[in-house]
């Protein structure tokens, strides 16, 4: 019997209990969240467990929810079990004043660049990262462009219809 979402959920709750919460199955993809202090423990458990074997970090990114006070930034891990070919999504939330999250780069080497990218665009401070500096944007940039508090650059252009790009706005 190969691994199922229910089994993963059961294993996580057996191991960690209450703190692991918010289980969802969007389009069949198991998704859950945990306090940010526990991110390494959970990733390590998912990696090491003989049944779970989530040993491939597909993606690591952040999301900004400016209206969710105290939980403005989410760091999202996408993991893949290559044996049973099953994926899951794991989120930790952090406030925007102290966006400190432990680095996963000791566990997954691929997290190194992805965390730099996440830092570059969202300003998440990955504690323990060996080389946390900008990777895609110019070094002189002094803001985190994908945070919603930073508007797009040129608010004054009216020659293009932003509605076409899902941003509201009209041509005058």
């Amino acid at each position: 019997m190969s691994l199922t979402n229910d089994r993963i959920k059961q294993r996580l709750i057996e191991k960690f209990g209450e703190p692991v919460s918010g289980f969802e199955e969007l389009y069949g993809l198991l998704s859950f969240e945990a306090p940010k202090e526990m991110n390494l423990k959970i990733l390590q458990f998912l990696f090491d467990d003989d049944e779970l074997k989530f040993r491939f970090l597909t993606d690591l990114c952040a999301v900004n929810y400016p209206d969710d006070k105290g939980r403005e930034l989410a760091v999202v891990y996408h993991l893949h079990n290559l044996v049973d070919n099953i994926r899951l999504r794991f989120k930790v939330f952090t406030n925007v004043q102290e966006p400190d999250v432990f680095t996963a780069s000791k566990l997954f080497s691929s997290a190194n660049w992805m965390e730099r990218e996440t830092y570059d665009f969202f300003g998440v401070n990955f504690i323990g990262h060996p080389n946390l500096k900008r990777i895609l944007n110019v070094d002189e940039m002094d803001y985190f462009p994908l945070r919603k508090e930073y508007p797009l650059e040129d608010q004054t252009r009216i020659d293009k219809d932003d509605a076409m790009f899902g941003r509201g706005g009209t041509i005058v």
Partner: protein, 178 residues
């Protein structure tokens, strides 16, 4: 005194001892330059695909003397900016341009190179037109421009060179610089 005539292309400078030959030589040099422009292989996004298509058999810009694409700026005469220039690429473009030997020419291909692009015009990462970074000789609108449009731009550049209007000569021409 400079005299412009209808028959003779260019100017006759009345200086002692064969000033006419000088003008003539300029024309010959410009003619030679315009028919052997070596482009730098420089494509930063989708417009580059169109530029490759112009280089290939169907459109074939070697018919106009552009076939010797160089992978080093030191041997190139013209840089076709085919694609989006992002802030991080801008210093690289500038360095490539500075490394090219004079005379050098620039063609801005596509909306991105002209103005920052049809999609990227309002973003944190894109230069709003390559002419913020290097001087541009010919602009080609389009997204991407048709291969014919690039050929037209190449021919336009040739005409510009043949008519003697290199940047240095434009600077010298008093009616543009009163």
């Amino acid at each position: 005194m400079d005299v412009t005539t209808n028959n003779f292309p260019g100017k006759i400078h009345e200086t002692p001892g064969g000033g006419v030959v000088l003008s003539k030589l300029d024309d010959v040099i410009n003619w030679a330059r315009s028919n052997s422009l070596w482009p730098l292989t420089f494509a930063t996004s989708c417009c580059g695909i169109e530029m490759m298509s112009v280089a290939s058999a169907k459109y074939d810009f070697s018919r106009f003397g552009f076939e010797v694409a160089r992978a080093t700026p030191r041997q190139a005469d013209v840089i076709i900016i085919a694609g989006t220039i992002v802030n991080k690429m801008a210093p690289v473009l500038r360095r490539l341009y500075d490394q090219m030997a004079d005379p050098k020419y620039v063609i801005a291909m596509g909306a991105c190179a002209i103005s920052g692009g049809p999609f990227f015009y309002n973003t944190y990462s894109v230069v709003k037109g390559a002419d913020h970074v290097v001087p541009v000789d010919v602009y080609i609108p389009g997204c991407p421009p048709r291969p014919e449009a690039l050929l037209h731009a190449l021919i336009t550049l040739q005409e510009k060179i043949k008519s003697g209007l290199t940047r240095e000569q434009i600077k010298e021409t008093s009616y543009l610089n009163p």
